[in-house]
Amino acid sequence: MANKRYIFTFPTNMITEPVIFNLGRDFEIETNIRRADIREDAGWVILELKGTEEEIDKGLLWVASKGVRVDSISGDLIQG
């Protein structure tokens, strides 16, 4: 089992969609929200995902396919 931390960034058209609920329901992933800021036009959620590496990878691919951006909470590691 792995614990991974991400920030999901939601575009306007996905603000009202239950993406995180569906992620937990449709994949073997436990979701744990730690911080969030959701507004009318956009929003972000910082959360921890618990599951197997394979299941988390599948779940994140599905999240990204919905138009939600997935990033590491530490920002981009690769620097100039």
Binding site: T9, S72, G75, Q79
Partner: protein, 423 residues
């Protein structure tokens, strides 16, 4: 010795010990160094600083690693040049260039890596690591060589050979990753989680980032302990931008600015603003990777990550870790954020070279182009004291200014020479 109380979460304020940590376990906010400013206030003086080494370690009392035996390749105390020619061209009488392209590995990264490497050795690490497209890799490799420890650097597989050589010459292990930008980030995140290495911008990040404060300290010292009216700073993650501001305010709060009374740092050390620090902080990004400038100009309090697509590779961070804090600094200082068009970057490089004899890389071209637009918009006035930070050397990105080459081919005769010279 370093005067630290530990680490503190920037979001929820939870305290942590002085350890190689970068994220709060509770809210996943970033951890920052918490200083013991009451002791620092007793030990730090202008005389103590000016009698120190000609490197960033003259500010050792204000850095989070011990200055007794630093890993120092003589980074810092780079020139602050009065740019009369460029000023005349732009209509400014009080323009300065902070030329940080002359650091030992030719970029400002030596400041942050010197601090991170020194701290890594304090923690007992034997491997220094990073993921980089150029400047950071070279600096990490150079400092590891100096410290006598191993360096492992990760680079994109398609990185230009010249940039690889800039790091390779110091003898690190270089992993060239066959994958896109996201793949490189993802793999490095996993490696940082699983290997007992000092990853400079991951588990060393709270200490590493503090090295950029010295860019603020030096400018103040070089301006006879005064802050400038404006600074123009290139931004990628936004960390350097916020730390220059922090550096100005630390010196003010400690009573080290000329004619300024010190004051308390309050509860949140990272947000303190001394009223005498009137510097307007102007951020410079290239249009192809300008998430912080976009957020600022759209009035957002959060930064929406982007896919970088810019010739300014050293600024190509699409998901800037310090973006929201940089936005706060812009607001607090009354500054601005500008995304300059990609085709102005090379123009900026050429303008600086032609007027001041300084050859900068693309990040410097971004800064000069943004300076020009700030003057044209009236944001910077003729007599205001303005400092532009030039953070990397032009030899690293020669490919973007190949159009500057205009040789006159001649035969080895005087006739041929005079004919060509006289047009």
């Amino acid at each position: 010795m370093a005067y630290l109380n530990g680490l503190k979460c920037r979001e929820c304020g939870r305290d942590y010990p002085t350890e190689p940590l970068n994220v709060c376990d509770f809210c996943f906010g970033p951890l920052e160094v918490a200083y013991d400013y009451s002791t620092i206030r007793e030990v730090v003086t202008r005389d103590g600083i000016t009698s120190g080494p000609l490197s960033i370690w003259r500010y050792k009392d204000l850095l989070p690693a011990s200055g007794e035996n630093p890993v120092d390749i003589m980074t810092g105390m780079t020139p602050l040049i009065k740019a009369n020619n460029l000023g005349k061209e732009l209509g400014l009488n009080n323009l300065y260039i902070k030329n940080d392209s002359v650091n030992p590995s030719f970029s400002f990264k030596d400041r942050v890596v010197s601090v991170a490497c020194t701290k890594a050795i304090e923690f007992g690490y034997e491997v220094l690591s990073c993921a980089s497209t150029g400047n950071l890799a070279a600096s990490v490799a150079a400092h590891a060589a100096r410290a006598g420890i191993k360096a492992v650097v990760f680079i994109p597989g398609d990185l230009e050979q010249g940039k690889v050589i800039n790091a390779a010459i110091y003898g690190p292990t270089i992993m060239a990753i066959d994958g896109n930008y996201d793949d490189v980030n993802r793999l490095c995140s996993e490696i940082a989680d699983n290997y007992p290495w000092a990853f400079v911008n991951v588990n060393m990040r709270p200490y590493y980032a503090e090295g950029s404060k010295t860019l603020g300290y030096e400018v103040v010292e070089q301006l006879d302990w005064q802050v400038p009216d404006h600074v123009v700073v290139p931004a990628a993650s936004g960390a350097m931008f916020t730390k220059i501001w922090k550096g100005f305010n630390e010196l003010a709060c400690l009573g080290l600015l000329d004619g300024v009374e010190g004051m308390s740092f309050g509860e949140d050390q990272n947000s303190v603003h001394h009223p005498s620090v009137s510097t307007k902080m102007h951020m410079a990004q290239a249009f192809g990777c300008s998430p912080i400038a976009a957020a600022w100009n759209n009035g957002q309090t959060h930064v929406v990550p982007v896919k970088p697509d810019t010739i300014a590779k050293s600024l190509a961070i699409g998901n800037p870790a310090d973006g929201i804090y940089a936005l706060k600094v812009i607001k607090e200082s009354g500054g601005s954020a500008t995304a300059t068009p990609e085709d102005t970057v090379a123009e900026g490089i050429e303008l600086l070279a032609r007027t001041e004899g300084i050859f900068t890389e693309t990040a410097g071209g971004v800064s000069i182009s943004v300076l020009k637009s700030l003057v044209e918009s009236g944001a910077i006035k003729q007599n205001e004291r303005t400092v532009v930070y030039i953070t990397g050397n032009g030899l690293k990105t020669q490919e973007v200014v190949q159009g500057a080459v205009n040789t006159l081919p001649i035969k080895p005769t005087m006739d041929s020479f005079e004919s060509a010279y006289n047009g």
